[in-house]
């Protein structure tokens, strides 16, 4: 059996600050198999975004952060890699899409120049002409009507939806095995968001890319992910296949979260406890969703 694309086991994270130690992750475990789309759902402050930063190896260098536990990418523990090796993974084997496409594209460079930089991560000696050809193909893949014109544009000359597509094209250009999407499209209009998510889903399916989809929006998760982990205050509370989890939420927190989403069928505004002791109940795992053995 091949190792999962991403395996996280008992990941702890704490920050040392002026008020002493603050625990952010209390030993979370998750895995993503090849070609799988897995969502990590939680509210702000649940620890979902720091998890992404740990996978990218960005938090480990922070002086005040204490990280322990296993993060393995394609069977290799990140902690055992050198900083140079980790750097090579980022933007190449592991790539990321952020919430706000406008702020993640540099306004002073043309899209084409930024694309070239991205492609250099995988192929340092790629010629400008070859890069441009590849970039144009990638933009065509995300249904950008005139790729060459987009490559000559600056980010601010394109709409939010176009920029999001450019970001998706860049993130997938080097054929990464893992794509981390942190609240993609949240800054966009609903109709544009729906289109870009559909596009992203088709593309990752085509390339067999594994995706870690980080979001607070249950509706979006339901439409995008194969499997879902629900995270509450640094603890995974429920894990199951998307259809199972939405049809039969078992953890009190997941239930509250689902109940709190207003329905377009009109059930009125739900009555919800903001904080409940029940939310700290132990992890519920749905049938057939156990964490794999750690090998090696």
């Amino acid at each position: 059996m091949t190792a999962p694309t991403l395996l996280i086991r008992d990941l702890y994270l704490a920050f040392r600050g002026w008020a002493g130690q603050i625990d952010v992750l209390h030993g979370i475990s998750l895995h993503i198999n090849k070609g799988e789309r897995v969502a990590l759902v939680g509210e702000s402050g649940s620890g979902k975004s720091v998890t992404a930063r740990i996978i990218l190896g960005l938090l480990q260098q922070t002086r005040s952060a204490r990280v322990s536990g296993l993060v393995a990418f394609e069977g290799r523990a990140l902690a055992k890699l050198t900083e140079a090796e980790r750097h090579r993974l980022r933007g190449n084997r592991i790539s990321m899409i952020f919430q706000d496409p406008m702020s993640s594209l540099n306004p002073v460079y043309r899209i084409g120049e930024q694309f070239h930089e991205v492609l250099k991560r995988a192929e340092p000696r790629i010629a400008p002409a070859a890069a441009r050809e590849k970039a144009a193909a990638a933009l065509a893949d995300v249904a950008i009507p005139d790729p060459n014109r987009a490559l000559d544009s600056y980010a601010f000359q394109l709409s939010g939806g176009m920029n999001q597509r450019v970001m998706i094209a860049m993130a997938l250009a080097n054929e990464p095995s893992l794509l981390i999407a942190d609240e993609p499209g949240t800054a966009l209009d609903v109709t544009v968001q729906a289109q870009t998510l559909e596009l992203m889903r088709d593309l990752v399916a085509k390339h067999h890319t594994s995706v870690l989809f980080i979001s607070h929006n249950l509706g979006v998760v339901r439409e995008f992910a194969d499997r879902v982990y629900v995270i509450y205050k640094g603890r995974i509370v429920e894990h199951g296949r998307t259809a199972d989890l939405f049809a039969d939420p078992r953890h009190p927190y997941t239930r509250a979260l689902l109940a709190a989403v207003p329905r377009i069928t009109g059930e009125g505004v739900p009555e919800i406890d903001d904080v409940s002791e029940d939310y700290f109940q132990p992890l519920v795992v749905h049938e057939g969703c156990a964490e794999p053995e750690v090998t090696g």
Binding site: T191, A247, L257, R263, G266
Partner: protein, 270 residues
């Protein structure tokens, strides 16, 4: 019967370097006392411009806005300012980080001379309790409050003016879903208790479905649909409304059915 708020052929034109932009284009609509009217649209739909005109931040370029049958002048008097209040989207920026919660809540009381001077700090405490916060939060700074608590303070500030109409500009879209549910409930309760009128500006149709009496759908500055909420979500008039509802991320099978049903209709009409 006169309406609480009426817009007659209101347009707002912004001059840009080369051309003019009609942010709001010949819009007429009425808001009745005690109702919640949702104003729905995506970015560039003109819904924020509309809100700013209702609030008197700037006057319409063409057309008039009247309040209780009286046409509002471009430069508003204090009494009209008091009558129409605002709750903004981002509670992080809508409260002054350098001033205490109490000072922020006291401002409207002082500006409009509401209540006896000596009783205003008690009034601040009452307002906080009315939105479900302890009265002693008056001494706190905004930074020490959570997003939901800050939004409650912003609501209390709008209540402090004893206004008739509250413009809610995406009041829950920066909040987590559990917090959103509680804030929506608070808004519903306050409306019932105080007989408030809401103009609820949002892009989130699932929220609209559960809080609004009527829905006004805006597309590129134009009012394309204005109907009771039930009608909008069962048999919308405009294709754009259908597209908007079709794009809402939903969580239950019934919702998916409703969405598919509406989208099918669009394909038939197209």
């Amino acid at each position: 019967m006169t309406h609480l708020l009426s817009l007659h052929d209101v347009s707002k034109i912004f001059a840009q370097s080369k051309h003019e932009v009609r942010a709001v284009d010949e819009v007429s609509l009425d808001v009745d006392e005690g109702e919640c009217l949702a104003v729905v649209g995506e970015s560039g739909s003109g819904k924020s411009t509309l809100a700013n005109m209702i609030l008197g931040i700037y006057p319409p370029s063409i057309g008039t806005i009247s309040f209780r049958g009286e046409v509002l002048p471009g430069k508003r008097e204090l009494a009209h300012r008091r009558a129409i209040q605002l709750v903004q989207q981002n509670p992080l920026s809508s409260l002054n980080p350098q001033r205490s919660i109490g000072a922020s809540l006291r401002l409207p009381l002082d500006v409009h001379g509401l209540g006896e001077r000596s009783q205003r700090s008690d009034r601040v405490g009452q307002l906080l309790e009315e939105v479900g916060l302890p009265a002693d939060y008056a001494g706190r700074s905004p930074a020490s409050l959570s997003g939901g608590q800050r939004q409650r303070v912003a609501i209390a500030r709008a209540l402090a003016c004893e206004s008739d109409l509250v413009v809610l500009d995406e009041p829950t879209s920066a909040l987590d879903v559990l917090v959103q549910a509680r804030v929506l409930k608070l808004l519903n309760d306050l409306r019932r208790k105080r007989g408030l009128t809401y103009v609820f500006i949002t892009h989130d149709l699932s929220v609209v479905r559960n809080i609004a009496d009527r829905v006004a759908v805006f597309e590129r500055g134009r009012l394309v649909e204005l109907n009771p909420t039930g009608k909008v979500f069962s048999d919308p008039d405009h294709a754009y409304t259908r597209r908007l509802i079709g794009a809402v991320p939903v969580v239950t099978a019934e919702e998916v059915r409703l969405r598919n049903h509406l989208m099918k209709k669009e394909n038939v009409s197209a």
